[in-house]
Amino acid sequence: MTSTVPRLRDRLLRLAELATTPLVPSDYLDILNPLRAGADLRGRIEEIRPETRDAVTLVIRPGRGWRPHTPGQYVRIGVDVDGVRQWRAYSLTSPADRADGRITVTVKAIPDGVVSNHLVRRARPGTVIQLDQATGDFVLPAERPEKVLFITAGSGITPVMGMLRSALGDQRDLGDIVLLHSAPTSQDVIFAGELRALRGRITLIELHTDTDGMLDVADLGKLVPDFAERETWACGPTGLLDALQAHYTERDLTLRTERFRPTVLVTGDGGTVTFANSNTVVSTDGTGPLLDAGEAAGVLMPSGCRMGICFGCVVPLREGAVRDLRNGALTTAAPGDGVRIQTCVTAAAGDCTIEL
């Protein structure tokens, strides 16, 4: 009995596939509802709320396939900026169990940030974006520690806000929490009102770096005398996290960090090219196409016209930077970006990894 329903469903699906080939049924269903169950995971931006002069919160209705996140985790979102799909990771700032089923991320515009500036200044409600499931291990353990320290700066507050909001939703005692947060000025503190309203339930230490100066990790003992007894989570700019990490390692203490800004790619002429699936690594000087470099190293490279017109050599660039030999245009990729390149007209412009 129980197996007849799935079997019937499989048959109907097969029939639908036969009727829609060479497309698949979802190509047509996506026109009607891109957020339906079974669709690729997407979300619709339903509201955009200003937080500070350069930060907004996006309220997103995720597709039916969304799995609830653990507070502190991040979600990768794919946004079309100027027609080009760009993927970025943002911490979820909503509690895991919002009654309306929506999720939020909070985005701060960073200088030259293609995606962040688009989301803060140009994005409009109604836009459909691509989503991945939430992931990340910057989370509180199931058994909440008695004494906690959060050290955050700028938009580094976002994963912590997700944790605090969840804990508040639990109606439980928050425990002994110290939040040491840095922002340029009082007006630049994201979630300022909400955080300040929590005073009394948590210890909030605000550093306004324009006037107070940057957080010096040597002062940590002065600001939070019992920091060594606290389980600590830190999120902020790379410089701060590096300094904190050194400080904690010296004292043999554990620090959990969340880093978003990827290491800045060193771009130049040439670099080491890794053909991931062929276990082949070659170093190139950046003057010749990747296709030639791969072929010379014995990698089975797809190829065609060898002049950039037939697209027969297109392969995924997992990460790294390449330069178009025709006009010098630079293309960079991070894992998961889904960037594909024509190897016959591109050269390495830094170390890169190709999925071949």
């Binding site: 036969l18 060479p22 027609g83 799909r85 065609g304 016209c305 017109i309 027969g312 006009n327 889904g338």
Partner: protein, 376 residues
Amino acid sequence: MTALTATSRGPVEHLSAEDIELLGKELDAIRQQILDSRGERDAAYIRKVIDAQRKLELTSRGILLFSLFPPAWLVGTAGLGIAKILENMEIGHNIMHGQWDWMRDPKIHSTTWEWDNASPSAQWKHSHNELHHTYTNVIGKDNDLGYGIMRVDEDQKWHPIYLGQPLWNFVNACIFEYGIAAYDLELGKNLHKRRRKNPEFQARLKQALKKIRGQMTKDYVIHPLLSGPSALTTLTANLTANLIRNLWTHSVIMCGHFPEGVQTFSKKSIDGESRGEWYLRQMLGSANISGGPLMHLMTGNLSYQIEHHLFPDLPSNRYQEIAPKVQELFERYGLTYVSGSLPKQVASAWGKVIRLSLPNDLLDKLGKLTKAVKPA
């Protein structure tokens, strides 16, 4: 001495090697202008076309469920024919060229798109993008020249078999999608006894047959069956829609390289060809179709065949924008921009097919005869 001017052909004799390199640089600059301004508006365009095409197809197939009623048959067939044309021309052909790869949308990408046509995308991309677009109009290299079954240039040797080519061309037009599939498989060459067993050919043959089976099952079995009492009329509607698409695409494609005034090239002429010379060959080897926005859409902007051949990877919606600049280059470099209305170009291409079914010397005699009858 450039490779192109080394031939006896006249149209480029007035250009020096430096001229041709300069021409190449000017064309590179036109391409760069489009690359620099490519963005949201273009992405919105292709998404809109795909969305409209799918809605049109769904609606037409929906209407054909009631194709027993003649008006439903007529509307549904016309709609489905148009949907199939849009899919093959403005959407499939152009996506497979990588015109939209820059969007990084895996659903609109040259490596993932499979089109509503008998020929598998992978095989089409090889024979079309690689062979035809690289070796455009080079006799013996570009099989699009007469698809290996026709004589479309005086320089191709005549054989009595070509007497039948007007008939084959018509048959090919009616079943064009299978013609393309056979052509992508290089059946003429591969059905030879020695090559038939070649495992690589066998694999491609299997791939093509699978695609054809899927396409036929969809149009001639599943949708008719879904139509219940209208099964038979839906079958004839789908056959007709495919026929409309075949005739239309065949006509458009004939207009691209067959009309009078389009040049062909010998294998030797492309030895050591430079970028500028490659551009020049594309300019001389292609012809445009004049018309309005609807004509451009329905031809997948192959009405801008010249611009497409110069820049096969630029988004099709931008060809009309660069056409005046390209035309200006033609004038400045003293070249002929071949263009004409669809009826004129189709007639011209057919005229060539019929004329070249006869041997050259007979043609000369006929020519003299007509001159004698009609004194100039």
